[in-house]
């Protein structure tokens, strides 16, 4: 049975120009509406997978399809429009400190030439969802880490993408704040977006009991529904 896969890795390899094998024979499918944790130690290949999904990198061998598009054969000029269907969240928030929260989110819409009359509505909607509507005029440096990450989440969802990719979004946050962020991701997931979150956070993974894909040394060691961070051996 062929359900519409949002992401599909088929025998995918990634070998960097220096010969390092970052990914070896990766196979998985992620269906629409799933919430998936991508776990593994640092340097295991999590980020490489995320970069292939967002087409920052292309697989060296094998096939990767994201949102129905083949990553390897995608033309350069098609990449920007492809990315407009996904929201990216990073560990370091990547906010612009010289402008307000509102302007940070509006920036993401402005650079894809969204009509100005839609910008305000969309930005306020996204800020409302992450609970920062009353801080629209504040600059990122005046916010806590958790609040900054919420801004970056708002920026990722402002264009209503069908796929959210979060690379260690709680990496710089304390446990309570991390829970807030993951709860927000769950809300976004419940509203229909597929969510992939690369993480080190054992506690969160164990508590949520979502699908877990584990990568170690470039090899996929586990793909488990309702999984935990690591089975005791």
């Amino acid at each position: 049975m062929q359900v519409t896969a949002i992401i599909q890795f088929e025998n995918a390899f990634k070998i960097y120009p220096n010969g390092a094998e970052a990914l070896k024979n990766i196979n998985f499918r992620i269906e629409k509406g799933e919430f998936v944790f991508l776990v593994g130690s640092s340097g295991a290949g999590k980020t490489t997978i995320i970069k292939i999904i967002s087409r920052e990198l292309v697989p060296s061998k094998g096939k990767v399809k994201v949102l129905g598009k083949d990553i390897a054969s995608m033309k350069r000029r098609d990449v920007p429009h492809f990315r407009r269907n996904m929201g990216l969240v990073f560990q370091d928030y990547r906010l612009l400190n010289d402008r307000s929260i509102y302007e940070n989110i509006a920036f993401a819409l402005r650079v894809i030439e969204t009509p100005e009359r839609e910008i305000k509505r969309k930005v306020m909607e996204a800020l409302d969802l992450v609970g920062l509507k009353n801080k629209a005029k504040v600059k990122p440096v005046e916010l806590s880490g958790g609040e900054q990450q919420r801004v970056s989440l708002a920026r990722a969802i402002v264009n209503k993408p069908s796929l959210i990719i979060a690379d260690e979004p709680t990496g710089n946050l304390d446990p309570d704040t991390s829970t807030d962020i993951v709860n927000l991701l769950r809300v976004i997931n419940l509203r229909g977006a597929t969510v992939i979150m690369a993480t080190h956070d054992k506690e969160i993974v164990d508590r949520l009991r979502k699908r877990v894909i584990e990568i170690e040394g470039g090899i996929m060691t586990r793909d488990e529904l309702k999984g935990v961070y690591r089975h005791e051996t």
């Binding site: 350069r76 920007p80 990315r83 990216l88 990547r94 920036f107 650079v111 894809i112 264009n159």
Partner: protein
Amino acid sequence: MRPRTCIYFIGEAFKSIYRNGWMSLASIGVVVITLFLLGSFMLLNHNLNFLSEDIKSQIEVIAFVDESVTRSELNDLRVEIINMSEAQEVKYVSQEEAFKRLKDQLGEQGYLLEGYEDGENNPLRSSFEVKSQVPEDVSNLARQMKMLPGIDRVEYGSEVVDRLFTVTSIINWVGLAFMTALGISAMFLIANTIKLAVFSRRQEIMIMKAVGATDWFIRWPFVIEGLMLGLIGSLLPLVGLYVSYQYVVEWVYLNIPFLPMVPPSLVLNQLVKTLSLLGIGLGILGSSFSLRKFLRV
């Protein structure tokens, strides 16, 4: 492109120029120097050409008459020369007149000529001075006159013009080499400024890429920044040369009236076009150079 987007690009470009103030200033400075020199050379060139045209139009052929030619033969010669289609103005200069001219030229040293005055002793020849219709026909005219019986020798001033052309072309080549070198350094400075601009906005560029801004949306502000640096750099030499050329022409007209100058109205239009286009060109080239290298979007 939406007008709003266009305004956004220009705004971003100016912000960036302001943010990298010193670097921008240096780029503009080199563009100013380059274009100032280029403009000066252009004006100098125009005037040298103008001058050589002027000299060419004054060129005449001098045909010296053989001593043995009689008075009636002389008249026949004169008629024959006048009938040549290239000849425009024919003037006969007798031995005596030639002697008088030489004496006038010598001025105080005129005493040197004492004892040569009388017919037999006069070492000078009588001659015909002929102006041609068209300057380019001078050598042709000279050749024809040389073949006439009774003409001993023919001279014309082409050497002066040739020499002037040689000087002009040497100045041109040296100038061109110099300006090319300066132009290249201006381009590199602009490229470097843009590189810094790209570097100082790498966070913004990263976000733009992540949210799906197109390559050209990311590039435009930098292209415009380069263009602005070039354009601003061309304004100063433009105004400077515009004003100073008018002043120089006026001064020459009053003080060296016999030196012909190209009227300002004839050259300044071309100067404005050339310099501003070159400035813009330098800027765009410089920034595209940097964007290719440092902005792999």
